[in-house]
Symmetry: D2
Subunit: 191 residues, 4 copies
C-alpha cells in the first residue's frame, strides 16, 4: 500500500489531478488490475504513477508528454515508485496520436483535450472509456459535445466535493475552509 | 476494466458502499495492486469484489460475514467476478477477531465498528489503515475517539458529495436532484 | 411573520425562485425595509410577494410580466398576501424597459435577461444592484460579461447548496437525497 | 438598501452569523417587515442590525447581551445603522429569561442555547420560530431533541454551502478554495 508520505516523495511539477478526482476515475471508471491505460499529458507523472499502482504488473500505462523537462520529471517519479515495467513515459504530443490500440481507458488532463478525442477513439477498445479532467465548464462542454459527435456516449460529468470533518470530544464540525474546486471529470464511453 | 453493466450483474443484498466512497478509499487510502486487505462485513460482497479487482492476483481480500445468507450471496458475487483466488469470504463475526496479521488495510462497513478496532489493530501492519464507513456522525465520533485511545492517528474523515452535470448544447447545469449523503469515511492509521 | 403554510396558499405557476435563492438575494443584496425594487418576470408573483414582505409599506416592488395569464395569477397572489399597496404588477415586457428610476435593485428571473441589462442600468440608482437568477452556466456568463461591458461590477455569482439534516436520538446524518441545483444567482452593481 | 461597504463600517466583535446563514433565517423563517424578534447574544450586534433592517420601523428587535463590552459595541453599531428606534440592546443574560411576550421569532447564537429554550417558548407566540445557530453537530442534537421534549416541532436543520464562481471570458469555474462551514441553522416551531 502506498505509504502516507508517498505524495511528498514525488517531485512536484505542473498542477496535478488530486486524489479525490483519481478516486472518481477508479471508482466510476472501474479501472483495475491488468488494464491497459493511456494518460496524457504526464506532467509530473503523478496520475501515471497512481494508475500504474492500480493496474499493476499485468497492466500497462502509456503516459504521453511532449515537453522534455516534464517527461524527465515524470520518468524520475516513475523510477521512484519502482514502476519502470508498468508505466512508459512517451515523449510525444498527444495531438499526434498515440500509436497504441485496444486500451481500456484514455485519461486526458491537458488543454484542448477535445482535439485528442479522435486519437482516443482509435486507441480505445469497444466499451473503453475516455476520461477528461477539465477545470472550466466550457472545456467540459466542448469535450462532451465533440465526443458525442464522434459517437462516444456521455456517461457522466462529475463535480466532486470532499468536505473534511474535525472530530473532537468537545464537538464535531466540518473544517471551516477547504478546497471548493479543482476540476470536473467527464466520462465518455466508446460504444 | 470493469464493464459498465458490472454493478447490475452483482446480486443485490444489504446496502453497499457506493462508488464515490470506494473512490475515496482507494485514492486517500492508497490501496493498490498486491495489498492484503480485510473487509467486514461482506454484505453482498460488493466492496470485497471491488477491492479484489484492485489488489489483483498478488493481493488478497479477507471478507468477514457472520450471517450465512449474506456470506453465500457474497460468495456468489465473488465467483461471478472470477475472484475466487483473490477474495476469501470468511463466515465469522468480526467481533471475534480476524486471525490474520500484517494486512495493509481493514475496511469496516458494519454497526458498532469501533468495537472491532482492537482486532483491526492486531491485524494491521505498522503504517496500515483502518477505514470506517459510518452513516451517522455519532458513529464517526465513537470510531475516531476510540481509535485515538488505542493509539491510531486520525488522518481524515471525509464527507463526499458528487454533483453530476447535465451537459447539453442548449445549456449546462448540475442535475436538479441527487444523492446528498450515504456515509462518512474515517481513516485511522496505525503508527 | 409569514406563517409556515404561506407557500402552499399561493397559487402555483411557472417555476419560482426558491427560498434558498431568495435568502441569498436578501442577505448578499442587503435588500431591506423601504427599498424600491423591480422584479421581472412576475411568473406566479412568488418573488414579488417575498420582496413586498421585506421592503414593507415604505418600500415598493414593481413586478413586470408580459403574459396576461401570469399577470392575473401574480395579482391574485399579491392580493392574498395583502400587499396591493406595496407590490404593483405591471403587464409589460421587460424588454421594452421599465419606465421607473432610482430603484435600489432589479431582480431578473427570465430568459435572455442579459438583454434587459441596459434597461436595468437606466432604472437603478448609483450603487444599486442588478441580480440575475440563471439556471444554466452559459446564461451566467452572458449576463456577467454583458453587464461588465455596460460598466456594472460583477460582485458575486453564488451557487447555493442547502443540505438538510436528520436529527434523531439514534443518530444524526444529512438526508439521503435532496435538491442539487435550482439556479445560479449573479450580482452586478451599478458603479 | 444596505450599501456594499456596510459590513466593513460595523465594528468587529465576536464571530458573527454570516450573510449566508442570515439569508437562510429570513428565507426559511419568513421574517419580514413588522415582526417582533428576540436575538441572543448580541455579540457585535451584526445580526440584531440585519434583523432591524428587515423588520423595519413597525417591527422590533430585542437583542440580549450580558457582557457590558459587547453590549456597548452592539449599541454603537445599532446607532451607526440608525436603528435606535427598532433595535433595543438589553444588557442581561438570556439564561435569566427575556421578559418579553408574543414575539414572532427568537434567534439564539450562543453557547448552551438549548438551556434557553424554555425562555424562548415563553416569549414566542403560537406558531413562532426559535432558530439556533449551532457550529457543532452535538449542539444541533441537544438543541433539537431538547426542543422536541418541550413541544417544539423540528422543522429543519440546514447546512448551507455557498460556492462562488469565477466568471471570465476565458473560462468559468467555481473558486478553488472557500468557506466550507460556519454554523448549522436549526428551526423549531412553537405549535
Amino acid at each position: 500500500m502506498r505509504d502516507d508520505h508517498f505524495f511528498s516523495k514525488l517531485k512536484r511539477g505542473p498542477q496535478v489531478v488530486l486524489p479525490k478526482e483519481f478516486g472518481v476515475l477508479i471508482a466510476y471508471g472501474g479501472i483495475e488490475n491488468g488494464d491497459k491505460v493511456i494518460d496524457a499529458g504526464s506532467g509530473s507523472g503523478w496520475l501515471a504513477v497512481q494508475l500504474g499502482r492500480t493496474v499493476g504488473p499485468q497492466g500497462k500505462v502509456y503516459s504521453f508528454e511532449w515537453r522534455e523537462d516534464f517527461a524527465k520529471l515524470a520518468e524520475g517519479n516513475v523510477r521512484k515508485a519502482g514502476l519502470e515495467g508498468v508505466v512508459e513515459i512517451v515523449q510525444k504530443s498527444a495531438f499526434d496520436g498515440f500509436g497504441v490500440e485496444g486500451v481500456d481507458a484514455v485519461c486526458l488532463d491537458m488543454a484542448d483535450s477535445e482535439k485528442v478525442l479522435p486519437h482516443a477513439q482509435a486507441a480505445l477498445r469497444m466499451g473503453g472509456l475516455c476520461v477528461g479532467f477539465l477545470p472550466n465548464i466550457e472545456q467540459v462542454k466542448e469535450f462532451v459535445l465533440q465526443g458525442e459527435k464522434l459517437g462516444f456516449t456521455h456517461e457522466r460529468t462529475a463535480d466532486v466535493l470532499v468536505r473534511e470533518w474535525l472530530v473532537r470530544d468537545r464537538g464535531c464540525r466540518p473544517q471551516t475552509t477547504g478546497l471548493m474546486h479543482t476540476t470536473f471529470v467527464s466520462f465518455l464511453r466508446k460504444k
